[in-house]
């Protein structure tokens, strides 16, 4: 298991698509830091206050960015037959878990590093203040995930959100495994998580929300932000994440382990 995991992790983090996705994410994060206005750190970092071009681009395209590094690998190995070589050498289950972890980690890195970088850049130029409950710039109120921590320990709040986004990035990147090697072209494998999340966003916005403001944010694409329009309690975030993880593992396992060569 260790050797195949090491190989998969090396491949996941040493390919051109990983570098391109990471560079694009970092560019969006830096653009957000450049374009952001004045104000204390708690009100300007892109995860809390996605209000400009950089954050809009990042949070609209993140499902593509996380799938780009290594989501396509299983499809490619099946198409160019290199899967047969691996299958002859290691157990399929071990291969699946190694692949899953490599895709998860590469997606998580591409998602969390730009957000962390954005926080660190903004921390260089913006004052560190604790948000006051009655402050006009206060983006998070009661009902938001970790809102009490936001008002008591901002750094811890931001780092926990980086971890949450790492998990989101990983879970959504692994959604590429669900389609296995069915699509004709690699591009469709990479775009699958994005299409699913976009479709969910449209359907939920149309049929669940209607034209009015609602109590909770349920669109998975929006739940990667700490500062959503409606409240994003932890139980919604983690139950949706768990649902996606279950789909990834269940269908991915079936595609990789149970499927015939």
């Amino acid at each position: 298991m260790q050797s195949i995991l090491r190989v998969e992790l090396w491949k996941a983090t040493h390919n051109i698509k990983f570098y391109i996705a990471l560079t694009a994410g970092v560019l969006f994060a830096v653009l957000d830091a450049i374009l952001t206005g004045n104000g204390p750190l708690y009100g300007v970092c892109m995860i809390v206050s996605p209000t400009n071009l950089g954050s809009a681009l990042f949070f609209f395209f993140w499902p593509i960015l996380v799938a780009l590094p290594y989501g396509w690998s299983f499809w490619k190995e099946k198409k160019d037959q290199s899967y047969i070589q691996i299958e002859a050498r290691v157990c399929r289950k071990e291969f699946f878990w190694a692949k899953f972890m490599a895709v998860f980690i590469s997606g998580g890195i591409v998602m969390s590093i730009p957000i962390l970088l954005n926080i660190l850049i903004l921390a260089l130029f913006h004052p560190y203040e604790m948000p006051h409950v009655l402050s006009g710039m206060n983006a998070l109120v009661n009902g938001y995930f970790l809102s009490s921590l936001y008002h008591s320990n901002l750094w811890l709040f931001l780092f926990i959100w980086c971890l949450v986004d790492f998990l989101w990035g990983g879970v959504i990147a692994c959604f590429c495994l669900v389609v296995g090697s069915k699509p004709t072209f690699q591009v469709m494998v990479i775009l699958t998580p994005y299409l699913v999340l976009l479709a969910l966003e449209i359907i939920l916005n149309t049929f669940l929300y209607g034209p009015n403001f609602t109590l909770y944010e349920v669109c998975p694409m929006e739940l990667a932000k700490a500062g959503t329009l409606s409240a994003n309690p932890g139980w919604i975030i983690f139950s949706e994440m768990g649902l996606f993880a279950a789909l990834d593992i269940g269908l991915g396992y079936w595609q990789v382990v149970k499927h015939e060569l």
């Binding site: 391109i20 374009l35 952001t36 206005g37 004045n38 104000g39 009100g43 300007v44 206050s49 996605p50 209000t51 400009n52 071009l53 954050s55 809009a56 681009l57 609209f60 395209f61 593509i64 780009l68 710039m137 004709t184 072209f185 690699q186 591009v187 469709m188 990479i190 775009l191 299409l195 976009l198 479709a199 966003e201 449209i202 359907i203 916005n205 149309t206 034209p211 500062g227 329009l229």
Partner: protein, 272 residues
């Protein structure tokens, strides 16, 4: 023009299963539109339904206080077309198309045939959209005419300053301009596929579209595909002449760039 080549592209490119799934994409805008017409107490016409697809959103002025709300429905319609037209060029090189390209004896003609197919595919997309809108209109008891009810249009666009003179201007801004813009965007995507992998090509063109939502400049082609920003409907907004010029430049540039790039491309080693 080699008509046999065009015939092949129309037959293999337009008779694909994915076109059967498109109505699902169009049902949601129609549903929202019908909800608006029901709320206004008027059935709405076919044109009212059609105009709702590409109405887009008002210019977003980015500042540090307001959260950005993107027009996801408009973006999904744009992305849907880009996805439908994304992989046919590669598909036709992978299959019987390899035989066709050998027999056509001209790479330029082969590529121009693909461009014609691309525009035809965009047309099919809009025709399917019109058919779904017509069905919704008929089911909701509306008139299947290309006239408009101003109360419905103003209610849909939610902008009181819009003064609608006739349905023709509305149809131009909400149907013809989006068609022209999306055809240009789709051609640009196909031309880029020759130089970069398709996923980056899709990402690049879709990013231009999203930038158009956030930056209201006529040179960013997506602005022309949003009726609400059209200078025809909303004086003082986008200059329509400039938008047509920008889209024409993109269209012609994509065809020329793609044809030149494809002539020099080593298609034997070309993999996605």
């Amino acid at each position: 023009m080699n008509y046999k080549l065009l015939q092949h592209d129309f037959r293999t490119g337009l008779l694909r299963k994915r076109y059967l799934w498109l109505p699902l994409l169009f049902i949601i805008p129609c549903y929202i539109s019908s909800r608006i017409t029901t709320a206004l107490g008027m059935p709405g016409t076919w044109l009212d339904y059609l105009c709702f697809f590409f109405f887009g959103c008002e210019p977003i002025y980015l500042n540090s206080l307001d959260k950005v709300i993107l027009p996801v429905q408009w973006l999904s319609l744009v992305g849907g077309l880009l996805l439908v037209n994304l992989d046919y060029l590669l598909y036709d090189l992978d299959n019987a198309g390899q035989q066709i390209i050998v027999r056509s004896a001209s790479r330029t003609q082969w590529f121009i045939s693909k461009c014609m197919w691309n525009i035809a595919s965009t047309m099919v997309y809009f025709i399917e959209m019109a058919v779904v809108a017509w069905f919704f209109c008929v089911i909701k008891g509306g008139e299947s005419t290309l006239t408009q009810i101003s109360e419905v249009s103003v209610g849909t666009y939610n902008v009181a300053e819009i003064t609608l003179q006739d349905g023709g201007k509305l149809a131009f801004a909400a149907i013809l301009m989006p068609f022209f813009t999306l055809a240009a965007a789709s051609l640009l995507q196909m031309a880029l596929c020759i130089f970069i992998p398709p996923v980056f090509s899709f990402f690049f063109v879709f990013m231009i579209m999203e930038l158009s939502v956030l930056l209201p400049f006529p040179v960013l082609m997506g602005n022309a595909a949003m009726a609400i920003r059209s200078g025809i409907l909303h004086p003082g907004f986008m200059n329509v002449g400039m938008e047509i010029l920008a889209n024409t430049v993109v269209m012609v540039g994509s065809i020329v760039m793609g044809a030149i790039g494809f002539r020099r491309k080593d298609i034997i080693k070309w993999r996605e």
